[in-house]
Amino acid sequence: MIKGGFKGKILRVNLTSGEIRVEDLKEDWAKKFIGGRGYGTKIIYDEVDPTIDPLSEKNKVIIATGPLGGTLAPSSGRTMVITKGPLTGTIACSNAGGHFGPALKHAGFDLVIIEGKAKEPVYLWIYKGITELRPAQDIWGKSTDESDKILREKTHPLAETMEIGPAGEKQSLLANVMFNGHRAAGRTGVGAVLGSKNFKGIAVRGNQEVKVAEPEEFREAVSKTREILSKDAFSGGGAAMLGTAMLVNVLNSIGAFPIKNSQDAYFPEAEKISGETLRERNLIRNEACAECPIGCGRVTVIKEGKYKGAQGGGPEYESVWSLGAMCGISDLDAVLMANYLCDKYGMDTISAGVTVACAMELYEKGYLPQEDAPFPLTFGSGEALVETIKLMGEQKEKLGKLLAQGSYRLAEYYKHPELSMSVKKQEFPAYDPRGVKGIGLQFATSNRGACHVRGYTIAAEVLSGAVDRLKYEGKAELVKTFQDLTAALDSTGICLFTTFGLGGGDIALLLSTATGFQVGEKEFMQIGERIWNLERLFNLKAGFSRKDDTLPPRILKEPIKSGPSKGEIEELDKMLADYYKVRGWDNDGVPGEGKLKELELMVD
């Protein structure tokens, strides 16, 4: 019997038959994989054939919280979406903040499994023991913020919602899943999988309490961790002041801030799109997810010019970079507008921006012919950015349809796939590996394609400066540690940003006292390693291998042209073999029998 944290119930929704079943959470799985990303990955691994087409009826989508969701643990509002990702073809897990996860727990469930395919658009309503699939015909086609509003009108004004937008409905590979219309499970194209199933979203409300195993000890762990977070200069103040966009000036100052599709890594106009400028010009208020003392979210408005009056959530650091610097754009209003549009369509801002940047380079080099471009796609043009995002979101004209498939398929169509800044077909986030060596190894080995939040080595390589960003030594261990820690953390239901203040031991303590499992820091890290290896096994079965653990040729061969990291390239070979060794994998990146035994992954 699980003593606390978990609700112990899973909702399985079969869209083909319309049947909804309640199942018990398996205690032995919860002990081995916790909840969230870990438990969800285990379900996908066991139930989904890794070789299927991700947009076919056979794929499944898991929406999961962890045992800390819905409790008083700090920053415990996360929700994970796990599936076989259509952008990459790998296992995919994308997560979002907000309040949805806790609401699902309050309604009595740890996770929801969506399988099959509905004949007509539907949504799911979960409320006080009622779970029902309802028609969503009249919401289909609506933007994510409108969908959120309508879902609440149709169900309960205080319901928490999850929805896809037009991008997901049209199965764009850049489609995300939004929560309450503005918190995004952004990456890997998870929204397209729901779209392929005719599944619009979920509204949920509940009032059940989440019990913890050791209430006294848990309360102590909560106040200890909250105190650490409020004393820490970043989580206790800086984050709320500038949001994640504070990183614009940091990354640019070290010359690892990619611009113009990574043709260079220093942006002389960075200040114009920085967190500092955003605060001065556009910030309306801060926002925090459930139980979060950090409060990094923002709501902004455009105060002048042709987009005057538009407002929305964000933008995050990643988005001001992808829609701004990566496209050579310093017009902050255009960046904000593009960001709001992406949210409305339900499109990942990182991949969308990097895809626009790729299109701009293809256009400027003459590979994307004028007749395919409805207007000039020039670097630096805010107007071209906004119009291109509209084409992409609405899949208008030939170019719009190509853009909606992401940069790799776009560049491949125009015969220059090397101009896609992606790994495993997923676009880069806002860090140039040539100027921060370890993050390149992380991009190359990430189980869901290029990604920073699978192993945020930036914390050590740049922010705390614990290790030298330009050295290769020790980076394999560093990457592994961050990857394992994050995999475990993503399975608890709390936010990655807590790790700027908390260590694995603090989080293990929250977990142990909530669930009654005896998990110390070492066991916690091992759970993360187990999840990482299970994800790897799925990808190997899906056909991925060592050759896919790489970076675009530009990053490996073209030196950065200007700024503080001028002259640098990324020598991935100096780290990759080491990384496999540290992981206990063979030269081809396959986990050895010894490692699988050690991690108790041999049962199947």
């Binding site: 820490d232 200069a233 970043f234 989580s235 103040g237 800086g238 984050a239 002041m241 500038l242 949001g243 994640t244 966009a245 504070m246 990183l247 000036n249 940091v250 100052s253 070290i254 010359g255 920085s274 967190g275 500092e276 990094c296 995050e316 650091y317 990643e318 920073h452 939040v453 945020y456 930036i458 914390a459 740049v462 922010l463 705390s464 400066g465 030298d468 960003r469 330009l470 990655l496 940003f497 700027f500 700024g563 503080p564 990291s565």
Partner: protein
């Protein structure tokens, strides 16, 4: 020699956005980070008055390189250097 000092985020309030400081040839970073050249609240925000060391998680870059991987407070400054100071940062 002239050194440019830039500050970001919360440190702008105490150090100003950007300033140029005139120093004697061969000066070390330690000398620059004193009330002689910078507002005293700014110095307090970055240097631990007890130990005289840089406060944890304060990021100081000389021409884009973290001074921890140069010679720390004993890093030699040169004419035209750009010094950038960040308060503890995070995000992702």
């Amino acid at each position: 020699m002239r050194i440019k000092v830039k500050a970001f985020a919360t440190l702008r309030e105490v150090l100003g956005k950007e300033r140029e400081v005139e120093l004697k040839e061969g000066a070390l970073l330690k000398e620059l980070l004193s009330p002689l050249y910078l507002p005293s609240e700014g110095v307090e925000a970055i240097i631990d008055s007890q130990s005289g060391e840089i406060k944890p998680a304060i990021l100081i870059l000389k021409n884009g390189r973290n001074i921890r991987f140069l010679d720390g407070l004993l890093t030699k400054l040169e004419d035209g250097d750009e010094l950038i100071i960040f308060p503890p940062s995070g995000g992702g």
